[in-house]
Symmetry: D2
Subunit: 254 residues, 4 copies
């Protein structure tokens, strides 16, 4: 995508807000994160939310905004798809399609994604074993799409002080067992902005092929997931740290 290859020597940085809230907001964030070193722009248009009363995303309107901003800045865009019926629409706007943790075993969706010619990021289910995760990937691969990227985003444990528990041993295990690239999402995993930096570094040291990080201009005003979003300045600092670390591992961020 735009010359970026998951699983190469590059540690691909995907960044952006949890949800696309407005074109102006997205534009402002995208300019800043591109400058800081992000390769891809992420943003949710269809938001699966635990409560039906929470903000559900802008839908196709959000996809259009995302595509316009991505194109203007020459950044491939990543967004989530939540329904088999939406796959074609989302694929028309996005460069990379993401399957969220809640849908990791939505096999109809996975089979449908196996028929398109775009990379798919498959997030690990919130309590999926590594075996179930690899088997879910198999549904996409078997249906014909070999561009699958796994994403560790934290598993559910009994610990209440973090949102989930980032399982980096699963990253190392997947690198050992599978040829598929694997990235990590320290933002959703921890739910706490001050843990994103340490966990992003740890993920790179454990061997991830990329990172997905939430960035917001004003985290305290975000419509979703504000507590875990970095400001653009914090994100810039993180990219520099990660770049040094990647260098030590024989890799690079850009």
């Amino acid at each position: 995508m735009g010359g970026r290859v998951f699983g190469s020597e590059e540690v691909v940085i995907i960044a952006g807000p949890c949800a696309v809230e407005s074109e102006e907001m997205l534009w402002e964030i995208a300019v800043r994160i591109k400058e800081a070193g992000a390769a891809l722009l992420r943003g949710g248009a269809y938001k699966p939310r635990t409560s039906p009363y929470s903000f559900q995303g802008l839908g196709e309107q959000g996809l259009k905004v995302l595509a316009r901003v991505g194109k203007a800045l020459d950044m491939p865009v990543v967004t989530e798809v939540v329904d088999t019926g939406d796959v074609e629409t989302v694929a028309a706007y996005a460069d990379v399609l993401q399957v969220g943790a809640r849908n990791m075993q939505n096999y109809s969706l996975l089979k449908k994604l196996g028929t398109i010619d775009k990379p798919v990021i498959l997030k690990r289910g919130i309590s999926a074993t590594v075996e179930e995760w690899l088997m879910a990937a198999e549904y996409i691969l078997l249906a014909g799409n070999e561009q699958v990227v796994l994403c560790e985003r934290g598993i559910r444990t009994y610990e209440p002080w973090t949102r989930n528990t980032l399982d980096l041993s699963a990253v190392a295990l997947v690198k050992h067992l599978s040829h598929l690239p694997v990235i990590a999402d320290p933002s959703h995993a921890t739910g706490l902005a001050h843990l994103v930096g340490p966990m992003a570094r740890a993920a790179v040291a454990a061997g991830v092929d990329g990172l997905m990080v939430e960035v917001h201009i004003a985290p305290e005003r975000a419509l979703s997931d504000g507590a875990q979003s970095l400001t653009p300045d914090q994100f810039g600092h993180l990219v520099r740290e990660v770049d040094l670390l990647a260098g030590l591992m024989g890799r690079r961020v850009r």
Copy 2:
């Protein structure tokens, strides 16, 4: 359904094989379980399986078999739906639609099920909190379908000797917090036939409005979930036990 009401004084017994394998097999089981006291007939036509290489069910062919057998024996039928695109087809054959644990947070599917006029059994996700489960039900209710039945089917824990851990405190909690009827599935929860009886009794004592039990003529030859299936004789014994217990709670099985 057929005069049965979830949440009434009746403890509704749903039984049948994990998957519809053939009309002859289903017919044989259905006759025996009806005789033993089952009110509804269950059987999977669309089977969500962890591996794409496992038996995936007979699809619409399975639905037809299920509908024919149910009609002939005057037993309403329950079956799982796994894709928004299949809802209408499944609703054309089944009396009750079931959402499996893997799809509890497939909100597109839940919203679609909110638009039909048939009861929906919503299984608890394998690591869903009670709050997430009730919120998932809210997606169906909010879309207009008020016939939602919750089903506790075991949660994922660290214990390896049972398939999952049947959480009966969640049953008691849901009875306390919500007006929705709640049933339990001791077969999937334990994964062991010899635990189905004790857990079915415990579930009734905890206050469930129904039970879903896997029965197979020859469990050792089942294409899926044989280890947890009861024989018709074992099932008959279980119904008698449960009936006595229900009586003590001011309820009845038939």
Copy 3:
């Protein structure tokens, strides 16, 4: 103990306050619970608490109070021991010694308890597998004490609305695998008084040989675990329910 046998046809009811707070308080509770059908009196003198700043129990002073009240009312008493160095002292006052969840794998303590001639209630560790639990019992048995009673008291899961998750399938599994009697503690497991009744009934239906229930005259003023304690009236109601249920299972409460 006092003619009571764990693992017989009797479902033995152990009740009392979480901690011995004063002789007057204990006396008042004990009279009421004996009247309601409790066979044994429980009360903590050495309280293992997560925080060193919480109430730690009255120590030997508490043991004396417990022994006096138990003797006066002809109720055998159960209390927790937390240190190998205290085993002899506790055994001098108590009829049954209890190992709490936090100490299930304190093997020094278990070995020491294997050398005394009093029954030991071994609570399941908060995240112990059934295998680890049975192996912990083996430490006591191997050291020479065959009077071991297992107690399921809830395991740690991700669910935040109950204190722990009562795992009744473990009860049924242990009854299947071992000759040891097994009881359940629905008070600690749920942490919510309104769930104690349903879970006590469910435990009996699953086959437990006894129940351990927290009762307090004024739960809202208890120094520990008030939210999960029943009043004597609620406890009396529970015993009557459990008695009927036990009868159905070919057992009895007294």
Copy 4:
């Protein structure tokens, strides 16, 4: 200890076999790991094992061997204590005392360790929350011993392909919340030798103050935990990697 300070800019490396098996074996390992950069020597003399039929360690005999080898090589030694009654004996031989995961809430032991003047490594309980872990440390601190080092060693989750799940977000959280130094044990956490390297690197990137690593001359012949032990060569490689990484974080290994 020997000039080493936990919580300084040094990342302290503790290495050695799971259990002291013989003086010859320990000597051979110790020479090699010292050469490779280990600061402290570890080895178990009192081994808490799930089954009473497993190898339980050499006891005081093992302590003597450990002390002799440590002294000869000028390496401070670390070993586990499992009973309040053993604290003085263990403290007579060891430079640092370790509390294992099973005893994290053995408060009698913690209080006793609060009375000695040697550093204590407090391993996180297998399903302890961060709050419970910090509170357990408080028992030692409150009793007068301020030399407490926390050790993350993996928590129990549902994932069967690793022994436990190393929770590095807990490391980052503890660094944020507490002044106590924190180290990680990737060997026990993963249970797989090929994951020890990636997880050791990740731990350093997350900010640990030290690492505890199992090394054995012939892992395939170890009496316990062979599958997770590194050979001395593998360990040497790991120390070099970790040293580079530590340098990047403004720290050093020796």
